[in-house]
Amino acid sequence: MKRRQRRLLLIGAGGAVLCVAVALVLFALKDSIVFFNSPTDVIDKHVASGTRIRLGGLVKPGSLTRGANFAVRFAVTDGNKEIPVAYSGALPDLFREGQGVIAEGAIDGAGIFEADTILAKHDEKYMPREVADALKKQGHWMGENK
C-alpha cells in the first residue's frame, strides 16, 4: 500500500513535469515557428503584411544598393518572381549577389520585405536547404548534386 502510494506520487510528479513541458513546447512552437516562402509563394499565396516569414531565394544580381547607416536594399528572386527587401545592418560575409539568401522578417504595407535577419551561405553546396528546394522547383537550379 505504502509502496503503491509512493509510486503514484512519483508518477504524478513525472506527469506534472511532462504536462508543463508539453504546454511549454506548444506555446513556444506557436510563437516561434516561422514559415519559409519563396518569392513566388509570397505573391501567389498573398502572404499578409505583418506576418513573420522567412523569404528565401537568390539575391538578384544588380539589385543591391547601399544607403546611409548600413541600410541596404536588394531583391530576392527565385527566377520567377522577385520581392524587394530592405535591411539595416552589416550583411553576412558570405552575402553575394547571385547567391542564396534567407531573409527573416515581414512584408510592410508597401510590399517591401522588411528583414531583421539575413542569413547567407556561400556556394550551392552550403545553400540553405529550403532555398535549394525552392529553386529546384522553379527549375532554376544548377547545383552539382542532382
Partner: protein
Amino acid sequence: MIAELGHYALVLALGLALVQASVPIWGARTRDPALMAVGTSTALAQFAFVAFSFAALTWCHVVSDFSLLTVFENSHSAKPLIYKITGVWGNHEGSMLLWVLILALFGALVAAFGRNLPAALKATVLAVQAWIAAAFHLFILVTSNPFVRIPNPPFEGRDLNPILQDPGLAIHPPLLYLGYVGFSITFSFAIAALIEGRIDAAWARWVRPWALVAWMFLTLGIAMGSFWAYYTLGWGGWWFWDPVENASLMPWLAGTALLHSAVVMEKRDALKVWTVLLAILAFSLSLVGTFLVRSGVLVSVHTFANDPSRGVFILAILILFIGGSFALYAWRAPALRQGGLFAPVSREGALLLNNLFLTTICATVFVGTLYPLALEALTGDKISVGAPFFNATVGRLAVPLLIAIPFGPLLAWKRGDLYGVAQRLLAALAVAIVAMAAAFAVAGGGPVLAPFVVGLAFFVMAGALTDVAERTGLFRVPFAAVVSRAAGLPRSSWGTAIAHFGVGVSLLGIVGETQWGAERIAAVKPGETVSVRHYDLTLDGLSQRRGPNYQERVAHFTVRRNGDVIGAMEPATRAFPVRQMNKNEAALMTRGTSQLYVSLGDADENGAVTVRLYHKPLVLLIWIGAVVMMAGGALSLSDRRLRVGAPRPARQKPALQPAE
C-alpha cells in the same frame, strides 16, 4: 599499395566483425568458454585492422596521393601538414572511418580490460558491439568508401574547405565521436543485460565508467565545437540551436541522466529498468545525431554529405538498432527484478527528479529539432524552429533542475530530510542573494532575469562547496580532522562537487555573455576610432599578407582603455583561391574571463571598412565551466572503486560478511 592494404584491412575488419557478432553470443548461449573467448581476440584484431586502415588513409593524405578520390577532393599539396592530417576526418568518408575506428577502439577496450566481467556478459557485450560495427563497416564500404581510386589522378587536390582549416576543428570531431560512440558501450551492456535477462548493481558498476568516459568526451567535444563556432564564424555566437549542435546535445542530456541514474542503481539497486532505457536512449540519440549530420537531411556548415543513398542506409541502421533495441526492451524489461525502496524525498528521489528534467529537456530538444523535418515530410510546409523556441522551453525547464542541484548530494539515501538540507544550504542561499543584489546593482537595474540567473549560478557553485564542507565537517570539527576527512573522501564525491561547480561556472558565463554583451557595427577609415564599452579601437591601417594557401587582408587596430594602450588586434579576411572562398579571421583579446571580439567586413567605396565589435563579458567561463565539469568526471573516473570492472576480489577472503 598502402591504399589498397588499408582498403583490404577495412574489408577484413568487416569480416572479423561478423565473426565477433555471431560466435561469442553463440558461446554465451551454450556456455562454451572457447567460443566466448573468440569475442575478445576478434575485438582486439578488428580494432587493429581498422586502425591500420585509418593509418593508411592518413598516410595517403600526408603524401598527397591524389589517386584516392577523397584525398583529391579534400586535400591540396600546399596545405600545412597538420591540416593534411585533420583533412582525413574533415570530410564524410574519413569521418565515418574515424567513427568506426572509435567504435572498434571501445570494443577493444572492453575486450582488454573487461577481465572482471562474467564471461557470458562480456561475450554478449562484444557481440552487440560487433553488430553495430558490422553495420557501419558495411555502410562505409558500400556508400562512403574512402579508398575509391582514380586511375589517372590529377596533379593537385581541391583543397579542404577553408572554414574547416582550423585547429579547433582538428580535435573537435574526434572528441565528439569519442563521446557519441562511447555510448555504444553502455548500449551494448544494456542489450546484453536484456538478452542475459540479468541486471543488478554490479552491472551498473561496470557500466558507469563507460558512461562517464563517453560523457566526458562529449562534454569536451560540445564545448570545443561551441568555442570553434564562436571564434571562427565571425559573429561571436557560441550556440545556435543548429540541428547539428542539437544532435550532440541530445545524447549529452540522455548521457547525463544515465550517469545519475546509474549511481542510484549501483548504490541502491533501484531504477534498473529506467537505467537500461537511458542507456539505450543515449546511444539511439547518438545514432539519430549521426543520421542527421551524415545523411544530408539537414544542410548546414557541418554537413558534407549529400548523397541520398547514404541517408537511406543510415536510416536503415537507425531503424534496425533503435527499433530492435526498444522491441527487446519492451519484451524483456518487465522480467527485470525491481530493487531497493526509497521515499520520494531522498537522494534517490532527487536523482530521479534530475532524470525527469533532463529527459524532458532532451525530449523538447528532440521535438524542436525533428518537428520541422516531420512537418515538411508530411505537409510540405517548411518552417524553422529557431533559438526562441529552445530558449523558451529549455531555459525554463532548466531552472528547477538547476535549483535542485545543490539539494541532491546533501539528501540522505532512502529517506531524506528536506528541511535539514535547506538549513544547511542557508549559507549558499545567502551567497546567491548577495550575488543577485550585486548583479542588479552593477547592471543598474535592467531586466530581472540576468541577476536572477547570476544568483542561481552562485547558488549552484556555493551548493557544491557546501557539499564538500558538509562531508569534510568544515567549521564543525577541528581542522586536522577536516583534512583527514577530505583525504578519505571518495574521489567520486569530489568529482560530483567539482562537476556541479562547473555547471554553475558555465551558467555564469552564459548569463554574462547573453545579457550584458555589447555589440557595435561601424564603418571605419584608417585613423578613425570606434568604441565599445570602455574600449577604444583605432584603425591604424590595412595591409595584405600572403599565407601558405591563401591571401589575407588585415586590419590593424590599436586598443586603448581610458587612453592607455592595452594591445593590438588584427582581424583579417582570408581568400582561398583554390576553393574560391573567403574566411573571416576574427581577432580576440582576453581581459580576465571577458573578451573583446573584432571581425572584419567588406570595404566600401570611401575606403572605410565595416567592422563588427563585440564585448563579451565572462564569455570564457562558458567553456571553463565545461572543462571543470569534465575534470569532475575525470576525478570520479579515477576513483578506484569505479575503475573498469569491480574491485579485484583476490585480496579478500571469499567468505561472506556476516549479515547483521
